[in-house]
Subunit: 517 residues, 2 copies
């Protein structure tokens, strides 16, 4: 059987300083949360050494011969020039081997800590950390259908994520609160993560000033100064192909300088922002990540970074992005191998789907990606629950359905135990040919932990199911959403810290007029 140990609970394994852990014990709401997945199964690898070397050689050729653009960012160009790159206008040609050499100072794994140290996550190695959906401007609920997302929705998603045993990380822009001004909503979003959850979170990246706000608010949350370990892992998208804009790079510069972690992630719809073939896409992804990670190390050697890859394909009929496809899985497997050879933590998407509804299409697409991400050695999975309609929509019902599947990943990652209890020879002897295992002593001793248990799927007999209304998955999920929100309790937070956070947000909001769009 899979070992339950893969899903270490915060309860059983307090980490960090004993004092901090005990304080958290006293002040935080007690509910069972898995810290992160520790894989006891191997990675699935589709490329051999020769193939990997070819992709790596071609990526170096791309960097040297074609180069990358750092747009409207004279300081970045100067850093590259000093590092030995050939800078022509905004085009940076990086000599073979330079980017890889610069990447060597980035840590292979790091701890992102949290205000509750029991919720700290270790990113890298054999671990997998799960964070919810990021970015949708719309929300779809079973009761209300599809509409623009609001700050109330944002808070609902933070609460649902906090309540989930299987989501380790509170995420970032779980949806876009479109009822708050664009230039101020990052403040409310950060405050929601900090107040309503004690899981680790992400910072704002939509403007370097907002990244600075994220650092300032984190300092307040942590009692005046940031701890040694990073407290944010933020999402820096590369403008594929081969372009690094000054907004995202500006945020990266803020975070790297403050010792905070970033995901350096090409955002690619294959066939549009990268070649239509997998080999070409992997080459471009590697070139882009090499340049981006190298740049983070030019800003601050040793800054924690993650090798990101968000790659979907394009539907050649409609031009729409597709998700959960075989090409996406193959790219994920290949990119994972490239990241491990580079010695960097690896990030993928998670519950990706294109369907407008949390229906069969959504679930096929999602499960394809979740399985590939677990087996492909992903260390940080963004969008691992709640994603709908190509990322335009966040759905609370999809979030609880996805989160249930994430529990499955925990058990799968545990592998197979072959100790005496696992091998069960005494049970086979006891039951014998034609017998029944339900009543045997081995089953009695193990049944509580032997199998993964769903919290939302339905296994009842048909007749019972009909009597209870013949509900589909979305209706079961809607019931669970309501239960989780009804039983939510806010984790305790020092009132002085909360007050200081509120004051910071109020002060910053007063400094500039509202901007929308």
């Amino acid at each position: 059987m899979a070992e339950a140990g893969a899903a270490d609970t915060g309860r059983r394994r307090a980490r960090g300083g004993g004092g901090a852990a005990r304080r958290a014990e006293r002040t935080s709401t007690r509910h069972e949360v898995a810290r992160f997945i520790e894989r006891r199964i191997p990675d699935f690898e589709v490329l051999d050494a020769e193939a990997l070397e070819l992709i790596e050689a071609n990526a170096e050729t791309v960097l040297e011969e074609i180069g990358v653009n750092f747009v409207e960012n004279p300081a970045a160009l100067e850093r590259w020039r000093e590092a030995g790159a050939d800078v022509q206008g905004e085009r940076v040609h990086i000599p073979r081997g330079l980017a890889r050499k610069l990447c060597a100072t980035a840590p292979g794994r790091f701890t992102q800590t949290s205000r509750n140290p029991e919720r700290a996550v270790e990113i890298g190695g054999r671990n997998l950390v799960l964070a919810p959906v990021y970015g949708p401007p719309f929300v779809r609920t079973y009761e209300e259908g599809r509409r623009y997302a609001t700050m109330a929705d944002f808070e609902m998603f933070v609460k649902l994520t906090y309540q989930s045993k299987w989501l380790h990380h509170s995420g970032g822009t779980v949806c876009e609160p479109t009822d708050v001004a664009v230039n101020k909503r990052h403040l409310d979003m950060l405050l929601a993560h900090m107040r309503l959850s004690d899981k680790p979170y992400m910072g704002s990246v939509t403007d370097p000033k907002r990244a600075e706000d994220s650092v300032r608010m984190s300092e307040i949350l942590f009692g005046g100064a940031l701890p040694a370990d990073p407290v944010m892992t933020s999402l820096i998208n590369i403008n594929s192909p081969l372009t690094f804009d000054n907004v995202m790079m500006g945020a990266l510069e803020v975070y790297a300088a403050a010792g905070q972690a970033c995901i350096v992630s090409p955002f690619i719809v294959g066939g549009a922002m990268a070649p239509v073939t997998i080999g070409g896409t992997l080459t471009q992804v590697l070139a882009e990540v090499l340049a981006g990670v190298a740049y983070s190390q030019l800003v601050k050697p040793g800054a924690p970074v993650i090798f990101g890859a968000f790659v979907t394909s394009i539907d050649m009929n409609s031009g729409a992005p597709t998700m959960g496809t075989p090409e996406a899985s193959l790219i994920l497997y290949g990119a994972g191998q490239l990241a491990r050879r580079l010695g960097l933590p690896f990030r993928s998407g998670g519950a990706l789907c294109t369907s407008k509804l949390p229906d069969a299409q959504a679930a096929y697409e999602t499960a394809n990606t979740l399985n590939a991400a677990l087996l492909g050695g992903v260390n940080f999975m963004l969008h691992s629950a709640g994603w709908l309609e190509g990322g335009l929509v966040a759905s609370p019902e999809k979030l609880v359905l996805d989160a249930d599947q994430l529990g499955m990943l925990h058990q799968l990652a545990g592998g197979i135990s072959l100790d005496e209890n696992g091998m069960a020879m005494d049970a086979i002897r006891e039951v014998g040919p034609g017998g029944h295992y339900l009543g045997c002593s081995h089953t009695q001793a193990n049944f509580k932990t032997a199998f993964w248990r769903t919290q939302v799927l339905d296994y009842k007999p048909y007749e019972t199911w009909i009597e209870e209304g013949g509900m589909d998955s979305v209706q079961f999920a809607a019931r669970r959403v309501k239960h989780l929100l009804d039983t939510y309790e806010q984790p305790a937070l020092d009132p002085a810290i909360e007050e200081a956070l509120q004051a910071y947000v109020a002060g910053r909001k007063a400094e500039e007029p509202d901007a929308f769009g």
Copy 2:
């Protein structure tokens, strides 16, 4: 990109005698069908050599010390006695190593041929052959809901399977035609496979006499005598734990003697028919398959057989079977390794799910199993499309949704091409930083085959989707079911053969009164 070659079409690669192939060209309806999947990706393996040896040693202990029951089958007991087993009553104790030695005469791969030789499948090696759902007494359709299955439903599933590009095999009891007498329905089912499809099929196993009918009808179909290669692969379930009943063994004896292939398959709900732990279940599965396959070789050395494993877990709350679980995936991965070490083709389940509806639950469960089966090295996947409600229900909408996902498996199995076109360096040079790949020459040259294309999922923009009715996956699937049935054309069959088959069925039906239940 994944190479389309994984999905070789019958059109491009006719096999067997040129005359037969040309005859098939003339007489069969022309539509594109993938022959089978040829994997260009590795197997995912969760057990190391030491673990595998432990399971193998324990399985030998089970066979020797505990033994297996061959029930009401004196001939089988006599065969075992002659082979050197210690037979006590109906209990057969098989000395260490004997079963494995007997298994050595079973072929590692074989061709199951078909009346259209272009549809012949190769079972074993790196191949994966896909067959539809098997066994449900109920049908659920979008229009009519859930009801008992009839012969008309059976014919519908044969036609849908025939129409699918991605289902290579017509299967067996695609549903139970409950409107035909139990002792006669096998005749109508076989006739439907033979008339309405030219894909390979399975024989009846519910009585040795019905297996004989299957052989007789196959002789007629193939012009009076069976060809050298088997024309049926039939499903022989083991009555786990460790029991071989005389009905299933009787059918096995008929098929093995006639050189026809059998799947020797424990049917296990873990926690009930096998230990509640994965290691114990794998041990029992291996012991059972060793005994069953060895017995097939006692009947006829060289008889083609498949290492089967149908394993689900039990929901410890309700006692209901669960599907698409992490335990089921781990068992599949482990059993695949054991089968490969034994040198036998490996069979698993496919679109397994417990949901009553083709909803998100059904699709998560299904996709989990489909992904595990592809990566776990399965050679013959039964139930790969159309399964619902734990196998109680067959669904046409689920069948077309699943079949679409099977197309995805074909592309995933193709792996990553790293030839010059695949690496796309010229495209990366042509487009450059900030450019767009949609219009570039490499995209134009590759876009038709670069990406897997769905035939049922929806990628349209939200507004278009709303205008067209805001349909969910089941509604899209229902539309496709209708299209496939409307465009179905029966493959040509020699009228003399069809007449002889009809006469055989009529004659056999006249021999005995109807039996129901």
